[in-house]
């Protein structure tokens, strides 16, 4: 809840980027896939962090905008044959419009009703793509093109290059959202979260601000979706399941809610653990659940809170 304006976040950001870079150098083919997946999950989690951590809007339908972004890229890029860059931009815009439509209804509701309406909207989007013929229904659709960066000498078809691309987009999203979170707009969202009645009495058109946050979050989630569709060259209704919305929500909570870097680290933890545990046991979901329950019990403020606490203790030890 505290504004994450401490200068140490730059240090942490560089450390996280360096860790990703080191992993990129050291890992093989599969590692590059994991890295791309981590970057995509981090973007999705950062977009939800704006809603949950800043505005206090807990959405259980965030995967809908992720999926809509992915399907829109498939539609514009594969079905209509638009250049991938243009199709990506159009897909992000589509995610923003979808978020605007859902948000117009959702931001009028509070608490559990907001959760239910976002869940319902997500399920409706999921149901639509299950039945839809244009994109292959339940079987999904292959042949989604990747961004063409051959002009600057990058072959995005290569997993190593694509992982770097996804990582670069994640860093860009971090820089933009960090700016947004620390701006008067971000502060207004936190004010609404802490005391909506007071914010309104001060002159804040609360609904419009919630809607703006919802649209930005939807657009960024759609951007993550376009990368997911490019990574597998494939879209399916799996992208819009409410369990994915729930997973991202868990990642955000474990990361510390309001901290963009915290939720990014949690995304890496989530993808890494899932990979490690699924090679060890068929009951990996159970094991992950247990690990995350323990994490939340041990560090109630998530990864961000734990790191801050550790930092404080170190500073005290060095001090008097």
């Amino acid at each position: 809840m505290t504004p994450p304006a401490s200068g140490t976040r730059h240090v942490v950001a560089v450390l996280l980027a360096a860790a990703a870079g080191g992993y990129w150098l050291a890992s093989g083919y599969y590692g590059k896939e994991l890295l791309a997946e981590t970057a995509i999950t981090a973007i999705l989690a950062m977009s939800l962090s704006l809603l949950v951590g800043q505005a206090g809007l807990v959405s259980l339908g965030h995967a809908a905008f992720f999926g809509i972004g992915a399907y829109a890229l498939a539609g514009f890029g594969a079905r209509l044959g638009w250049p991938p860059a243009l199709a990506m931009a159009a897909a992000v815009a589509t995610g923003a419009v979808a978020a605007l439509l859902v948000g117009l209804v959702a931001v009028r509701l509070a608490g559990v009703f907001f959760i239910m309406i976002t869940l319902a909207a997500g399920e409706m989007a999921h149901a639509w793509f299950l039945k839809d013929r244009l994109f292959g229904g339940v079987g999904g659709m292959a042949g989604v093109p990747r961004l063409d960066l051959s002009a600057i000498g990058i072959d995005t078809g290569d997993p190593a290059s694509f992982a770097l691309l996804a990582l670069g987009v994640a860093i860009l999203v971090y820089l933009l959202l960090d700016r947004l979170v620390l701006s008067p707009f971000g502060q207004t969202l936190r004010a609404i979260h802490q005391n909506e009645e007071r914010a309104r009495a001060l002159g804040c058109p609360v609904g419009r601000y919630k809607l703006a946050a919802f649209v930005v979050a939807g657009a960024v989630a759609a951007l993550a979706g376009t990368l997911a569709a490019q990574r597998s060259a494939f879209v399916s209704p799996e992208l819009l399941t409410w369990t994915l919305s729930g997973e991202v929500l868990i990642v955000v909570i474990v990361g510390g809610g309001a901290s963009l870097l915290g939720v990014s680290a949690a995304a890496a933890l989530w993808i890494g653990l899932r990979h490690q545990l699924s090679t060890l046991t068929d009951h990996w979901m159970l094991a992950m659940g247990a690990i995350f329950v323990v994490l939340v019990l041990v560090a109630g403020d998530g990864i961000d809170g734990a790191v801050r606490g550790l930092w404080r203790r170190l500073a005290q030890r060095r001090g008097p």
Binding site: L180, L182, P184, F185, R190, R200, A201, L202, G203
Partner: protein, 254 residues
């Protein structure tokens, strides 16, 4: 400039509000010229809080109008009225518990100033907002507690911040809902001094139980009873009224 030609800073005309069978406000009219200090008193259940909420925009009247300056704001919600220069305090502290005093005051000024839509500048590095927060903090007696988290403030200081948040919006009209509620005698005196020191550019309407505060601050007093205006007059007139004494003041002044 002819004072008589100026519209009242705040005016209510024939306000009515019912909750089911209960008529909480039954045709209340008020008119506050700019700079006026006006108090509303009345026994519990007289409809003070309902009237306050009708003026602040938290409730819509069944009948009647509310005017801010020359604008009819009857249909406006609390945020739209705030943007027209109306600020309110809350009877029970309604603050931003996760912020420091400085951040809370800066936030109030940013929202009221329409800066909330700015997304490319740093909020915490805005010198203008920080200077404004320091000025308001000095006015409400919190100058030495700018860096203190709101949740860590003592109750009396939170009451001061309650006024500070309203002042940070640079209001033309200030509605105060029992500003001394729950305060010690010492804190009450400090609050009286604070209110007495507010500039005349602000028109003030206060609901208050503490008669010392009312008679000290107000130039006009409206006595509410059963949702109606029992009497409106100067503090001396209200004190001298047999009717008011019987209905409300009781043996306090007897």
């Amino acid at each position: 400039m002819i004072p008589a030609a100026m519209p009242p800073a705040l005016a209510a005309d024939g306000l009515r509000k019912s909750f089911g069978a209960l008529e909480a406000t039954r045709g209340v009219s008020l008119s506050l010229p700019p700079g006026r200090r006006h108090a509303i008193i009345g026994p519990n259940g007289a409809g003070k809080t309902t009237l306050f909420n009708l003026l602040a925009g938290a409730l819509r009247p069944d009948a009647g109008r509310v005017r801010l300056g020359s604008a009819d704001v009857t249909a406006d919600g609390p945020d739209a009225r705030a943007r027209r220069g109306l600020a309110r305090s809350f009877q029970r502290n309604s603050l931003f518990p996760g912020m420091t005093v400085e951040a809370a005051l800066m936030t109030a000024a940013a929202i009221a100033g329409g800066l909330g839509a700015v997304f490319w500048r740093r909020f915490d590095r805005d010198r203008g907002l920080a200077d404004g927060a320091a000025e308001i903090a000095a006015r409400v007696g919190l100058a030495d507690r700018l860096a203190v988290p709101v949740a860590n403030l003592a109750y009396g200081a939170q009451r001061q911040l309650e006024i500070g948040l309203a002042l940070a919006t640079r209001p033309a009209v200030l509605l105060l809902d029992e500003p001394t509620a729950g305060m010690s005698p010492e804190e009450t005196r400090a609050m009286q001094r604070l209110l007495a020191g507010l500039p005349r550019t602000i028109t003030i309407l206060v609901i208050e139980h503490d008669m010392d505060v009312v008679f000290d601050l107000a130039e006009r007093v409206t006595v509410l009873d059963y949702g109606q205006v029992l009497l409106e007059g100067t503090p001396d007139e209200v004190r001298a009224s047999d009717l008011v004494r019987r209905r409300y003041l009781g043996d306090r002044t007897g």
